[in-house]
């Protein structure tokens, strides 16, 4: 009996080796690049489908991980980077000096389409898309509990919402950080911290993920989940009875940037890909999927407007100072944790 089992082991080992070998050969083909991205999986599939039409001879292998997972992975692999391009990744993470040092300045064709304030002055990255903070408010829960519909951050201080609001923990979620960073920037630090203290009284949970607050509000666990607009739109499309509320003070936001790895040994192909990311076709797709596109061109899809996104996004976006957000991150998180996370 034991020999029977051993045979099975060897067979599976051999099978595994063969598969791995095939995978390895595929990766080594001439015009293929590896791209790391944090674009969500459905967006990514649509982008890639469009790209394959335009660049049929380029094989793009994409690894999708969340912003934080990717940050850790890229830093850990720094000694021998495995990717050629970073695509659609939070600017607040991109400006980490340890990351910027790995990038090679490159100005793709059509770079002029991207307004200068969305580009690294040294040309190492450029931001084409982004996302912004929004509340997911469950209509059924509001009705059951007789609560009013909030329209701003200020409204959330109303004691009627006590224990009914959840937001992401800024120490573990980029979405959480962009929300408190926007509040501190628009109100100034002193008033901003006062506001966060008042908000804390109504807060049921600081959830350690950026999308989960919207998901739990969608399921009716809480009335209000501070999250981001695209999550709200997708959950509305899924059929959940929620309303997307963009805070009237202005929505905090994060941009997603692209950059070329200096370590890439296939830079021509990588550059072709980056050029494509600013092509008309790519911009069209961005408009189909993203609430913020920094390049003019396409138009906002109808289901975004139906979900409550205004046509003029600029009017509801708060003009974030990303450099400030990045530089003060450690200090702000430390203060936030000591005030709101002390057990």
């Amino acid at each position: 009996m034991s020999s029977h089992r051993r045979g099975g082991l060897f067979r599976s080992l051999i099978a595994g080796t063969a598969i791995a070998a095939v995978a390895g050969i595929a990766a080594a083909q001439a015009d293929s690049i590896t791209v790391y991205t944090s674009y969500e999986e459905d967006e990514l599939a649509a982008f890639l489908e469009r790209m394959e039409e335009d660049l049929p001879d380029l094989e793009v292998n994409v690894l999708r991980l969340s912003t934080g997972d990717l940050h850790a992975r890229i830093l850990a692999e720094a000694g021998n980077p495995q990717h050629d391009v970073i695509w659609g990744w939070a600017v607040t993470s991109m400006v980490d000096p340890r990351i910027q040092d790995m990038l090679e300045p490159y100005e793709p064709a059509n770079i002029d389409r991207v307004p200068e304030r969305f580009r690294d002055p040294d040309g190492r990255w450029f931001a084409v898309t982004g996302y912004m903070g929004a509340f997911c408010v469950n209509n059924m829960v509001l009705e059951d509990k007789g609560l009013p519909m909030p329209s701003s951050w200020e409204d959330l201080l109303d004691p009627v919402y006590e224990g009914e609001i959840v937001m992401p923990n800024p120490a573990s979620s980029g979405t959480g950080y962009l929300q408190i960073a926007s509040l501190l920037q628009m109100k100034g630090e002193e008033e901003g911290w006062e506001f966060l203290r008042a908000l804390d009284k109504n807060m049921a949970q600081y959830i350690k993920s950026g999308s989960r607050p919207c998901n739990v509000a969608s399921q009716g666990e809480y009335a209000i989940g501070a999250s981001y607009a695209l999550r709200a739109i997708k959950n509305i499309n899924e059929g959940y009875p929620i309303t997307m509320v963009i805070p009237s003070e202005g929505a905090g936001n994060e941009l997603e940037a692209h950059g070329l790895m200096a370590s890439s040994d296939n830079k021509d192909a990588a550059k072709r890909f980056l050029d494509w990311t600013l092509s008309d076709a790519a911009v069209d797709e961005y408009y189909n999927w993203k609430e913020i596109v920094t390049v003019s061109g396409g138009s906002i899809p109808q289901n975004f407007l139906d979900a409550g996104l205004p046509e003029d996004i600029g009017s509801v976006m708060y003009d974030m100072d990303f450099a400030w957000s990045a530089e003060n991150r450690d200090r702000i998180l430390e203060q936030w944790q000591s005030e709101f996370e002390s057990e």
Partner: protein
């Protein structure tokens, strides 16, 4: 005491020159891979924890460990871990006792149910708890109650369910074999059932108990998934590692906590000496297997306890399966298959990758942990204790930390392991070593029960160690080994935390597909994909069983 008659001088130390050579070879065969795949990556992690802007120093430790916030988190971690461990081990002992020592009905089904948490993607448990016990969950809506699952008790409940099968596997092994003469003697001496349990059963499973406490303790203290989903604002060490490494890309602080988490493993390694010193070998050349006599009251009582535990595990999985088939839980409960139209990257191809990885991990895992257990149990040498420590060390390492260590150590063209970096093989190896402690403790619990008298008898009859191993030891522990293989297979199908650092575009696995779907908000599709993974595992077990039957191998239980 009656038992002392069978107490074996474990190890049967006969240190002749003839014996030394195989001991050295065997220790190297077991020790070198452990050093390569555990210690070497951890050395990089250790290095990071001492790396400061001013160079090597203790600043990271000082600035982390002295804050009152950290001490609060430390306290939280221990509180939640000790309570969860106590619940899980007591429940698992009762369940394992019911399976191995009673004649309760429905054993085979209950065994599979006990193992469900091992092959349910972590999403299932988290989502199931919220669907059942959330503020808008099934219980509250049905009974109009006001249960709030989030926080301390939520973590405890989810942790108990998560670690229960690990404890069950070890304790089931510990209770599987015994010598009926012990029980006959106890009866003759007039001991009642409780006294027999206290003086015979409990002491004979002492090592299994200690091993399961260690496994549960380390699993709970290193898990961040459950506290993240259901812990609300209750922070523990593992979520703090996540905050630092993933939330803030601060490896230095994350690795400091990673190092703190190794302390329980060190403590356990020291305690093991005292616990196993008086472990009795239960199967000796003269022992007779226990014949379980029917006892209606006992059988029904244990059937009740087991059914209750099984129901808890099942209800959580069942509600997720059910939710995956309704249009939109809880707002539109009409039946629908729409969540099963998987429009995710590569479709179900990652499921195949997972199956290959799991098969490799099962085969490799059995060989590796059996070798470790054999060398540690049968060769007493100066390296036995270090080898034991290395064998259980991985349990104390959070998967995220091990994954980082693998990148730092092996993503380097001058390292020979780089040849398999980025392949399915390295993922399988990472799984084997990530779960090494649990597999090893199941195997060694089984091996400890085999008396050294077999080795002596075999040697007297002119048999070599290899012959004894092949003809005596392996056949005796074979059922356990199949269980170990099933264990590695099940975990490899769903584990995520270390794997996420090792996947490449070409080596996507099923658990990552679940994550991709969940991340993009398609929670119900993610649940449906999880259901497919669970169905694959169950289907696979049935297939293997069928093949064994066809091959004429009967009486082999895949799940011990």
């Amino acid at each position: 005491m009656a038992v002392s008659a069978t107490t074996a001088g474990t190890g049967a130390t006969r240190k002749t020159n003839h014996d030394r050579m195989p001991m050295i070879v065997a220790s190297l065969l077991v020790g070198v891979p452990l050093l390569l795949f555990i210690v070497y990556p951890l050395a990089f992690i250790l290095g990071r924890s001492f790396s400061t802007p001013e160079g090597f120093g203790f600043d990271n430790y000082l600035s982390m460990l002295t804050t009152s916030r950290f001490q609060g988190i430390l306290y939280n971690s221990f509180e939640v871990t000790l309570v969860s461990t106590a619940f899980a081990v007591i429940m698992a002992y009762a369940f394992a006792y019911a399976v191995q020592r009673t004649l309760m009905p429905g054993k085979n089904v209950l065994r599979i149910v006990a193992l469900i948490p091992l092959f349910a993607p972590s999403l299932v448990q988290a989502q199931g708890l919220v669907l059942l016990f959330g503020r808008n969950g099934l219980i509250n809506r049905t009974f109009g109650t006001d249960i709030d699952i989030y926080g301390y008790w939520g973590i405890v409940i989810s942790m108990v369910l998560y670690v229960f099968p690990y404890a069950f596997l070890i304790l089931s092994t510990a209770l599987a074999v015994t010598d009926s003469r012990l029980y006959e003697s106890a009866k003759m001496l007039g001991a009642g059932p409780w006294r027999t349990f206290r003086t015979v059963t409990l002491p004979s499973t002492k090592y299994g108990l200690a091993a399961s406490v260690f496994v549960c303790f380390t699993l709970v203290i290193t898990d961040f998934g459950n506290p993240m989903v259901i812990g609300a604002n209750y922070n523990v060490l593992a979520t703090e590692v996540y905050n630092q490494v993933i939330g803030q890309a601060n490896f230095e602080r994350g690795t400091v906590i990673g190092m703190v988490l190794l302390v329980p493993a060190a403590v356990a390694a020291i305690l093991e000496k005292y616990i196993s010193r008086r472990q009795y070998s239960l199967v000796s050349d003269q022992s007779r297997p226990l014949v379980i006599v029917p006892d209606r009251v006992r059988d029904l009582a244990f059937a009740g306890i087991s059914a209750f535990i099984a129901l808890m595990i099942l209800s959580i999985v069942a509600v997720v399966i059910f939710a995956s088939f309704v249009h939109l839980w809880p707002y539109n409960m009409t039946m629908s298959l729409r969540h099963y139209a998987f429009d995710v990257q590569n479709g179900i191809e990652p499921l195949w990758n997972s199956i290959y990885i799991s098969l490799m991990a099962a085969g490799l895992g059995v060989v590796v942990v059996t070798a470790s257990a054999y060398v540690i149990e049968k060769f007493k040498s100066p390296v036995t204790r270090p080898l034991y420590f290395l064998s259980i060390l991985p349990a104390a390492v959070p998967g995220m930390v091990l994954g980082l260590g693998y990148i730092l150590a092996f993503n380097n063209p001058s390292n020979p392991v780089y040849l398999i970096y980025g392949t399915l093989i390295i993922i399988a190896i990472a799984n084997v070593y990530y779960y090494h402690a649990q597999g090893f403790l199941i195997a060694s619990t089984s091996m400890k029960q085999i008396s050294g008298t077999f080795d002596e008898a075999s040697a007297t009859l002119g048999g070599t160690r290899v012959q004894t191993l092949r003809k005596v030891t392996l056949p005796l522990i074979a059922p356990t080994l199949i269980g170990v293989a099933v264990f590695f297979f099940m975990r490899s199908m769903v584990t995520l935390s270390a794997v996420i650092f090792l996947i490449t575009p070409q080596t996507q696995v099923a658990a990552v597909s679940v994550l991709l779907l969940e991340d993009r908000g398609a929670t119900n599709q993610a649940a449906a994909f999880s259901v497919c993974i669970m169905a694959t595992v169950v289907g696979f077990l049935l297939l293997v069983r069928l093949l064994l039957r066809l091959a004429g191998i009967k009486n082999v239980s895949l799940i011990r």
